[in-house]
């Protein structure tokens, strides 16, 4: 039996609350470049289209390690993680994916993570906690890495001329998808260890084709968005985590490209919300939560300002969080600080999971 068929068979559609959750995590952005008087111009959709209908937390604090793998795994587990920064070690306590799947007997097809960030590995999808682990983890997909692999393959094969032709780029990306070890890329979609499920393969292929021929921007986050939309349309997962990272161009010192990454994340987050509204599998039963992983370092810091995110400073630790959809009783601005580790238990509650002991606490402003 194909993994997908097994997956369908084992789905317990009625488990949990019936609530769906989409969590959007943006890389490092400072408050001064987003929700501040001078930053609002970079986030027109978040500030003007979404804020009026949102539960908005003005202070979302990362009090853990402000590096990508640890920041995202802290959000996903409800505990401050201090594992290897480069994703060589899994989080040490159960992820939201595992709590959801194990607790409610939910199939892997209902838990996905789609990420642009190069600092993540497939170990982000499940913990090393006893009794949990990859068996209960998420499907983890890194579309940008597929693109990077296609570029690298073309370079190695002397086919760089292909990079100027959209049809050939599509072929290069398909070839990268077919010709490489998916596990190495971070795929662990369903239980297909040796090959992708045909429906997943088609989803990726369609997402790549739409991305390549859209005529729009061609950044890693754009491809991530196309993949997210395709997954939503084909699989309607109940728990979907998206990580955008174009903003991380800041590491190379281009402030203009960093701001462009913020505007891209703003637009794509809005497009995901629009997809939720338009898709009957999501509309009226979905909560979308958006927050940055952390801020960035302040101008004049010894860590070179916006380039990095290492300073022990509010500029790096204090950002914001926006909640939209079913969990919003009424639009509101919450001034009281919340912590990133509060996200996991709160979303677990929305999904109908039993609460595990964690450093995070339930956010009482969410409607459950």
């Amino acid at each position: 039996m194909l993994p997908w068929a097994r997956a369908l068979e084992s789905v317990s559609a009625g488990a949990g609350s019936g609530h769906k959750v989409v969590l959007v995590v943006i890389g490092g952005v400072r408050r001064t470049d987003t929700f501040s008087r001078e930053g609002l111009e970079n986030i027109p959709h978040l500030a003007h289209d979404l804020l009026p209908q949102a539960l908005y937390y003005d202070h979302a604090r990362n009090e853990g390690v402000t590096a990508h793998f640890n920041a995202i795994s802290s959000i996903l587990t409800g505990n401050w993680q201090r594992v290897d920064d480069w994703g060589r070690l899994a989080p040490t306590t159960p992820t939201l994916f595992e709590q959801f799947r194990k607790g409610l007997g939910v199939d892997r097809s209902d838990a996905w993570m789609v990420a642009s960030n190069k600092a993540l590995t497939s170990l982000i999808g499940a913990s090393s906690a006893s009794g949990y682990g990859p068996e209960f983890g998420a499907n983890v997909v890194f579309p940008k890495q597929l693109m990077l692999m296609a570029v690298a393959d073309a370079l190695r094969g002397g086919r760089t001329a292909n990079m100027a032709d959209r049809d050939r780029i599509e072929a290069e990306m398909e070839s990268a998808m077919e010709g490489n070890n998916y596990e190495g890329l971070g795929w662990n979609v369903f239980d297909a260890a040796d090959r992708l499920d045909p429906r997943v393969r088609d989803s990726i292929r369609d997402a790549v084709a739409r991305f390549v021929h859209s005529g729009g921007p061609t950044s890693g986050d754009e491809l991530t968005f196309f993949m997210v939309r395709e997954i939503m349309r084909r699989f309607s997962p109940r728990l979907l985590v998206v990580a955008f990272s174009d903003v991380e161009a800041a590491h190379f010192g281009s402030y203009a490209m960093h701001l462009s990454g913020i505007r891209t994340a703003d637009r794509l987050t809005f497009q995901i919300w629009n997809e939720i509204q338009a898709n009957p599998d999501y509309s009226d039963k979905t909560t979308m939560v958006t927050l940055p992983e952390f801020g960035r370092d302040p101008d004049g810091s010894s860590t070179n300002g916006f380039f990095n995110h290492r300073a022990n400073d509010d500029s790096t630790r204090d950002t914001w969080m926006m909640v939209l959809g079913s969990a919003v009783d009424r639009p509101n601005v919450i001034e009281k600080p919340m912590r990133h580790v509060d996200v996991c238990p709160t979303l677990a509650g929305l999904l109908g999971c039993r609460q595990l002991e964690s450093q995070g606490t339930l956010l009482g402003d969410f409607r459950t």
Binding site: V65, R82, R88, T160, G253, Y255, A256, F307, R310
Partner: protein, 428 residues
């Protein structure tokens, strides 16, 4: 580790006296690396290392233990001894282990307190170093268009803008006129700085996103027989070096052990054949470039990041008395291959490179401020430093200066000559 023959006698004696045995574990990578690289250190770095180790060596065992007590207590809490922690050099793995410890910030403060104590001791015993006037010149050149209402926004209370009269037939840029000189200025500031009797190595730096400024600086060489040469760094003139370096870096897989292995290899590779003559002939500058590339911050990717990061590192490591930095233009990211930003885009994508003038202007504006903020982190620049940032397309300069800087106050337009004379007087 074997003590380098190049170490000064008093430091060598301190090492033989067991000073390294008194250092906490987390100080050893720093100390050992400084010894290994002694011949490539700038005078300021040698002085700081000597200050610390000679101070520790002068203490009784009890006082030495007290000095490091907080660091050692934190190391115990962090369980450093159970880490795979290199004591021979500073590695990426070391940095990663330290940074994800919950005690990292406390540890940093405790380490800084030790260095501060050593500096206070040196000031007490040797007297504070003589204060010399310093000068930082920055240029955002044409064709980078800047908006008059926002160009200085981030500078806040730092200095004042002044209009600058730029002759229509000026050959080269404003910065080139000031630094190198032209027929209207009998000589440029760089020549004067390098001719000063008290000038020492790495006192003067010129950093260029392109090559025109450095080409001109090289053309005016030699200034005076025996004069100490300035450190001259051009992003463009380092093209071959950078490309070879990034090719090596791109072989790096995404795991720390491998990253450290590649870094180790890159630390040993002979850069001289890849470097322009002015860098190849200067071992400390060559190693500075290597460390700049290895420390990220976009120095291998974008010319303006190179300029800013090189200037910041020059302040941190060499504390120059004169630094001139000129920004430039980068290309737009190319479709699809922009994700592979660490690659050489011209090698990966055959589409022609297109200048990103607005993006480069945005980058240069904030990076210009970052250069000045980097200088301000150090006491040496706190009082007697003038900073002039030229916004060429606006015919404006931002002048940050102490009150004794002899430039006509008020709103009047400055000429390049009058600005040059005031700066000349400041550093003479």
């Amino acid at each position: 580790m074997a003590v380098s023959d190049t170490l000064p006698i008093n430091l060598k004696a301190a090492v033989e006296n067991g000073v390294l045995d008194r250092l906490p574990l987390t100080f050893l990578p720093f100390a050992n690396q400084q010894f290994r690289d002694w011949q490539f250190l700038f005078p300021n770095e040698r002085r700081a290392t000597e200050q610390l180790l000679l101070y520790v060596n002068s203490l009784s065992p009890e006082d030495s233990s007290a000095l490091f007590a907080e660091v050692i207590a934190l190391e115990d809490k962090m369980k450093v001894r159970s880490w795979k922690f290199s004591t021979s050099e500073q590695t990426i793995e070391n940095a990663s282990l330290l940074a994800r410890s919950p005690y990292f910030q406390e540890w940093r403060r405790a380490v800084q307190a030790v260095f501060d104590a050593a500096e206070r001791h040196a000031n007490t015993t040797e007297g504070s170093p003589a204060r010399a006037n310093r000068l930082v010149l920055i240029e955002i050149p044409r064709p980078l268009d800047l908006a008059a209402d926002s160009v200085w926004q981030r500078w806040g209370q730092l200095g004042r803008p002044r209009n600058l009269e730029i002759p229509p037939r000026l050959s080269g840029s404003v910065l080139e006129s000031l630094v190198i000189g032209n027929p209207r200025l009998s000589n440029g500031l760089l020549g004067k700085v390098t001719r000063r009797a008290r000038n020492q190595y790495a006192d003067a730096w010129v950093i260029d996103a392109g090559h025109a400024l450095i080409d001109s600086a090289l053309a005016m060489q030699p200034a005076v027989p025996g004069a100490v040469q300035p450190v001259l760094l051009s992003y463009s003139r380092l093209d071959a070096c950078r490309q070879n370096f990034s090719r090596e870096m791109n072989t790096m897989r995404k795991d720390l052990a491998d990253a450290d292995a590649v870094y180790d290899r890159l630390r040993k590779v002979d850069l001289a054949p890849w470097c322009p003559a002015e860098v190849a002939a200067d071992p400390a500058a060559r190693e500075f470039v290597r460390n700049l590339y290895l420390s990220g911050n976009g120095a291998v990717i974008f010319s303006n990041s190179f300029v800013q990061w090189a200037a910041s590192e020059a302040f941190r490591r060499a504390r120059p008395r004169f630094l001139a930095a000129r920004f430039g233009v980068r290309s737009k990211p190319k479709p699809f291959t922009a994700v592979a930003v660490f690659e050489n885009p011209d090698q990966v994508n055959p589409l022609p490179a297109v200048d990103d003038l607005p993006g480069s202007a945005v980058d240069a504006q904030i990076l210009a401020l970052y250069i000045w903020l980097a200088a301000m982190r150090y006491e040496d620049y706190a009082h007697a430093t003038v900073c002039v940032c030229v916004a060429e397309s606006l015919s404006q300069v931002r002048v940050v200066a102490p009150s004794e800087f002899a430039i006509a106050p008020g709103q009047s337009t400055l000429s390049i000559d009058s600005l040059g004379r005031a700066l000349d007087e400041w550093i003479s």
